[in-house]
Every structure is written in C-alpha cells, then in structure tokens.
Amino acid sequence: METSSHKPGSKPYPGALIVVEGIDGSGKSTQLYLLRRWLEIGGYRLHFTEWNSSPLVKSATKRGKKERLLTPTTFSLLHAADFADRCERQIMPLLYSGYLVLADRYIYTAFARDAARGCSEVWLRNLLSFAPVPDITFYFRAPLDVAVRRILAGRPRLKYYEAGMDRNLSVSRPESFRMFQGMIMENYDGMVERDNFVLMDGTTAVNKLQKQMRDIVEQRIDMRRFAPKAKEAVSE
C-alpha cells in the first residue's frame, strides 16, 4: 500500500500535502502564507504545519540550541523527533481524514541542512523515511546574495546554529551564515530531480510568483475535494 503512494491517485489517504522548501530568505514562507490565505478565504479544509514546531519536542530543541549542546547528530535526531510527533499526531491523521496539509519546510530541510553539517545522506534518508511523499514540493530559489541580504536586513543578530557557527566556517557570523546557506542551497539543487521539486524563482515579483503557485496547485490537485460543502454539492 505505502510503496505505491507516490503514484498519483494511488495514495492510501484522500488528503494532499503541499510543501515549500528553500534557504532562508528565498521567499518561501511569504508565498506559503499567501497560498494559505487564498485557501482560507476560499473556505478550503486545510491545516498548516511548520518545521520544528511540535509542542512536545520544541522546548528540548530550544534548550539544546541555547546551551549549545547539540552536535550534528543530536541536532538532526531532535528535529526528526519533532517531525515524527507532528507526522504521527497531525499530518498523517489529517491526510487520512481528507485534509489539504501545507508544510513550511519538510524533510528536505533536514536532508539539505544536516548534510551540510556532515550527516550522511543514507542515514538522513533512512531517519525520515516514514514521511509521506508530498503531492507538490515547491522549491524557492533566489541567488545567495539576494537571500542573505534579505535575512541580514531584518535581523539584529543571527543565532549560533542558524549561522552554522558549529561548523567553524568563519568567525564572522554573517560570513558563516552566507557560507552555510550556500552549502544548503547546493544540497537543495541536488535534490530537484530526484525529489520532483517544482522550481520557483524567488526573485519574481511576489504577486506574480503567487499566481504561478496557485496555478500549479490547481493543475496538480483536484481542489474540489477540499472545497467547502463539497458533499452537499454532490448530493444535490
């Protein structure tokens, strides 16, 4: 049953999963927010979930970061535990109950970022192998300089792990951040074909990019399944 769930129409659940990925500053969260607003205003049955947000696990990750206790392996495992909690208690049950699930970052974040910390790809792919395959994975890509400038402009100070300071790339946080994001972007680029990413140009005007995103969603997913009062419409 599960082995064929990546084929269109053969998933074991009636829901659908839309994912956005990309480095910090690529515009992915803004675009997913706008997609979400469009669907919310339209009354669609949907659920939104963010990376690293499980109420059960999050505080442990936060403490580990604050006290700098995390190694590449424990960083990765804690984020996997967080994802497992959301996957088993939110994402999977909602997909089975016919929801449209939107995820701001998904397992590809772990593949790209934790690999940049030195974790082996085989190990990472195994670790998160329980994740359902998304119906659409939007990969937002902006030139490194553009993305980094967007982040640096809005932050008083980059956080230790966010800037990849644990990798000893540079003593300067902005410089380390830039190099770390570059490595992550390379890893994302390597996944485009293998993981069926839909490439989105993060330098396109926000409203035009959102139009593209909505068009792709409507092309690929039968949105009537998630529309309000779908059942009544059928029965009338």
Binding site: E2, T3, S5, H6, K7, S54, L56, V57, S59, A60, R63, G64, L69, L70, T71, P72, T73, T74, L77, L78, A80, A81, A84, D85, C87, E88, R89, M92, Y96, I107, R117, G118, C119, S120, V122, W123, R125, N126, L127, L128, S129, F130, A131, P132, V133, R194, D195, N196
Partner: protein, 278 residues
C-alpha cells in the same frame, strides 16, 4: 503509519535506491581487546573514533534481569582494581533525559517520536561523555545499549533496518553481555522493587491485555525474543541471570578480567553494597 525507505528514496522509473552502506558486522567475540573501538557501520559525524583506547562493556537484559545491580558491583570492583569507570544508560543525557521522563509520565508520545527521543538521548551521552571517556582510556559500563532500544522499537512495529541504520554510528562494544531471566522471574523482582508494576515495563501502551500480569509477560517475552536474536547475531556472551547476584557477578568478572588482561582475583563488596550481595 510507516513507509519503507524506498518510498522516499525512489521515484517511478528510476533505479532502485542503494542499500544503506553498512559495513559487514564482525561478531564482537572475534575482536581482541587491543583493537580500537570503532562504530557499527557509519562514521560518527564530526567525531574521530580511531584513537579510542578504553573498553566499552555492555550489559543488556530485560527489566528485572539484575543488570543495574551488577553494574554497581562491577564499578566497585574495577575501581578497586585501579580502572577509571564511566557508566551510561537510558535517559541519562543532559540534553533530553528530563524531556523523556516528562513524555513517559504524560503518555503523550507516539512510538516513533519516543524512539527518536531515546536515540537523541543515546547519542548525546555517546558523543559528549562516552567518547571522551574512551579516549582517555576509561572503562565504560553501559547499563543497556542500542540493543534494548532496537528491541523496544521492533516489538512496537518499527522496522528493524530503520532502527539499525539510526544506530549504525554507535560504537561497537568491546564486550557485550546478555543477562537473561524468564519474564515470570522478572515480574516478581520488578514487583518487589516498588510493590507495583510500571506502565511501560508491562508494555501497556501496546494494548496487549488488560490483565497487568499477562501484559507484562507477553511484552517482556517479545522483548526477550528480540534480545536473544540480537545477542546471537551480534556475538553477545549470554549469562544466566536467575542465579545469585554473587554467582552472576563472578561470571561477569571472570570474562571482563580476561578481556582487560588482569587476574580475576578475589572481590569482597564494600559495606555500602553488601545488602545487595545475595
């Protein structure tokens, strides 16, 4: 809801995914004490494990097997022999031990999340406590190791290859013991400890039986079968755990002494530990 590795790894029309790159596992008994402590398969990220000189001695066994008691005596004996000892166990990491206690107490957590929290707990101890200890030549006594964690996940339906791959960066034990007791004996021992049976030790999360005794026996029998399988395939030394504490301890000391290249000698427990010496 679980999906096999190849669901994420492969796409229709593509070549099948590569097998996880696991080094062929050498049974522990074929190794000698002089060899460096390496990992079970994948390299431990960011940690050089080539120059670890100490000994990693693992004691596995179900709840009520007498493992922790044996660790107390072994620690005292090794220290009296002049060895610096460090211990590890489950839920002892600085990073997430309290968090796991919280999760277990609330029973909020699903099996996979719990398995991954235990993996975090394991690697935190391994990387920040055990590796430095071995590098400085200490003897590490592990009160349970990855094998219990694999067994617990496997009886709850998590895939064995999934669990084995997660722990492929764990250090290979220098010496591993499986202390075996029948679940019926373990039940009595565990009950006497606190005049009750612990929710998780009875596997109540698995809804095996509403009869607590039955649930304990079924659950612990499944754990025992998993551990037996692991012990046999990994070359553990099986120790019959239903004998007296002193008899089991003598057996363990002889094996460990021979591994460390010392004479087993006589050992008399300190007054502090005497009450446990039966």
């Amino acid at each position: 809801m679980t999906a096999p590795v190849d669901e994420v790894l492969s796409r229709p029309g593509e070549a099948p995914p590569p097998e996880p790159e696991m080094a062929p596992q050498t049974p522990i008994q074929e190794r000698t004490g002089a060899e460096d402590v390496g990992t079970l398969g994948l390299p431990l990220v960011g940690v050089d494990t080539r120059d670890l000189k100490g000994s990693l001695i693992v004691l596995e066994g179900a709840d009520g097997s007498g493992r922790s008691t044996q660790i107390l005596f072994l620690t005292e004996w090794l220290e009296s022999e002049g060895f610096a000892v460090r211990t590890m166990g489950l839920r002892r990491s600085a990073l997430v031990a309290e968090k796991i206690d919280f999760m277990l107490a609330r029973n909020l957590v699903t099996r996979r999340t719990l398995a991954l929290m235990y993996a975090t707990d394991f690697y935190d101890q391994l990387e920040r406590s055990i590796v430095p200890a071995l590098r400085s030549g200490m003897v590490v006594l592990a009160d349970r190791y990855i094998y219990t964690l694999i067994a617990r996940g496997a009886v709850r339906g998590l895939e064995r290859p999934y669990l084995e791959c997660i722990y492929a960066m764990a250090l290979r034990p220098s010496l591993a013991f499986w202390i075996d007791v029948r679940p019926e004996v373990a039940f009595e021992r565990e009950f006497k400890k606190s005049n009750a049976i612990n929710y998780w030790e009875a596997g109540l999360d698995m809804s095996l039986s509403s009869n607590l005794y039955e649930s304990f026996i079924i659950y612990q029998s499944r754990i025992r079968a998993e551990l037996r399988h692991l012990a046999e395939s990994q070359g553990f030394i099986a120790v019959e755990g239903e004998g007296s504490v002193s008899a089991v301890n003598k057996d363990l000391r002889q094996r460990i002494a021979s591994h460390l290249g010392i004479k087993p000698g006589r050992y008399t427990p300190s007054r502090a530990l005497e009450p446990l010496w039966r």
